[in-house]
């Protein structure tokens, strides 16, 4: 499957007069893994939250062409009273997945994510941080997203799970989904990215495909050259 899953044009947002995102524009293609890089406070999470509708945009346009969207926040939080299985049931019910297929789908993804299915009978906030992250992956993947957005995909995951997550992103992209990940871990992204978008001071300063020619030997050099500022003595 090819085509565009998301188009963002002229997106801007300010908080109390401080511009967090300014005139950001990019598009995400299906079948590709896009890395969204930027320093702390560059506006990555704000951009993602505007795309998802969690924050209002001051101006700009978000054109969502994907049918279903998956989202894993950096630090997932869940209702304190709900068990994992109940939340998954709500998710699948909302997406019209028939009852008989729900259990099978959950079992398949639990295995892929190395998440103990026994945990699902417990309330989600009682899980370890890593398992909460995996549960968030599970919840999002169950809906078969064709746009998968992950904020800091590797936070709280152990090295084995990081490897599994990398493999997962590639599989999703091969399956035709657009994968959009915001992260600081350039070394991990380097192994799997197809496209890269770099944001600095709220503005998108670089959009590049892996196959595009350039003088940079690796993603880290590309990132550093994009965010380096003569005003900060770097």
């Amino acid at each position: 499957m090819s085509g565009t899953a998301l188009v963002v044009r002229g997106l801007s947002k300010s908080f109390a007069g401080v511009m967090a995102v300014r005139d950001a524009g990019f598009s995400l293609e299906r079948g590709r893994v896009t890395a969204f890089l930027g320093e702390n406070g560059a506006g990555k999470t704000t951009t993602i939250k505007m795309v998802l509708g969690f924050l209002r945009k001051d101006s700009g346009e978000v054109e969502l062409r994907a049918r279903t969207v998956g989202y894993v926040p950096e630090q997932p939080a869940f209702f304190s009273w709900i068990k994992g299985a109940e939340l998954l049931d709500c998710t699948l019910r909302m997406h019209g997945v028939p009852l008989e297929r729900r259990r099978e789908r959950i079992a398949t993804w639990c295995e892929k994510l190395s998440l103990d299915p026994g945990l699902l009978e417990r309330r989600v906030p009682t899980y370890s941080q890593g398992n909460r992250k995996k549960f968030s992956y599970l919840q999002s993947l169950l809906v078969s997203p064709d746009l998968f957005i992950v904020d800091e995909p590797f936070t709280a995951l152990d090295p084995t799970s990081i490897m599994a997550a990398r493999r997962l992103f590639c599989e999703l992209a091969e399956g035709g989904a657009a994968v959009f990940m915001s992260t600081h871990l350039i070394s991990e992204v380097e192994k799997i990215y197809d496209d890269v978008i770099i944001i600095r001071g709220g503005a998108v300063v670089l959009r590049k495909r892996r196959e595009d020619p350039g003088p940079w030997p690796d993603l880290e050099t590309l990132f550093l050259s994009s965010v380096r500022s003569p005003f900060r003595g770097e």
């Binding site: 998802l52 509708g53 989202y71 939080a77 998710t91 019910r93 909302m94 019209g96 919840q139 809906v143």
Partner: protein, 245 residues
Amino acid sequence: MPDRPRRQVTFRLTWLRLRRSPAAWAAAAAFPAFILYLWIKGSYGTALRSFLFLLPHAFLILSQDMAGDEIREGRLENVLFLGNGFKDHLFGKNAVLVLTGAVYGLGLFIPLWVIGLVTHRSGWGDLFGLVVALLAGVYYVMLGGLLSHYLKGGSNVLALIVVQAAAFMGLLFSAAQKGGFLDLLSAGHFPGFVAKLEFLAFAAVLPNVVMAGRLRHYVLWIVGLTALALFVQWIKVRRLELKRS
């Protein structure tokens, strides 16, 4: 996303929360026990009147921590609530809580009322009392929901109860004064603008007061306040952004 599955999810999530809330269970059990106690120790009439007077508070208990913590702790930043889903969810909770309170209230009222009807101690007029009590309950849900956007945890309910206690104390102090507010309340007549205003403010804090026979026409004031609270809540939710604290 179609509206129906979204509504179902809101219903299920809200219902699960209520089902697992020890405070809700304790209140749900204590209320009929108290009414039964009044019936045994006092009379059927006292029990029925007290039931109708206190029923709105059952709605108030349901409305504790309706929105604030979910927003502040980032629980709504979930794949279930993408787009404007979190807004629909927050607004839809009002309906679930009102429905739950109404079913609970009716479940207790019907047997109580039927027994009274059979033994000629209640009448059809009590049905109007029930409607007024339910309307006051709906107001509590709207007000509790609105306050929970500003106050943490269950303090939306606590704050209202503290204000009610202060208003009640003021009422008691006015008992010493001839022609004071308590006298006006008993007479159901408020001469002058200030007295009327005082009553309207009192009813806004303790809407149960309109259950008193001479004050029942003030239920329209409660309906108006409900509409206002709902409107302000709607504006608040419409402008809402999910920012973690």
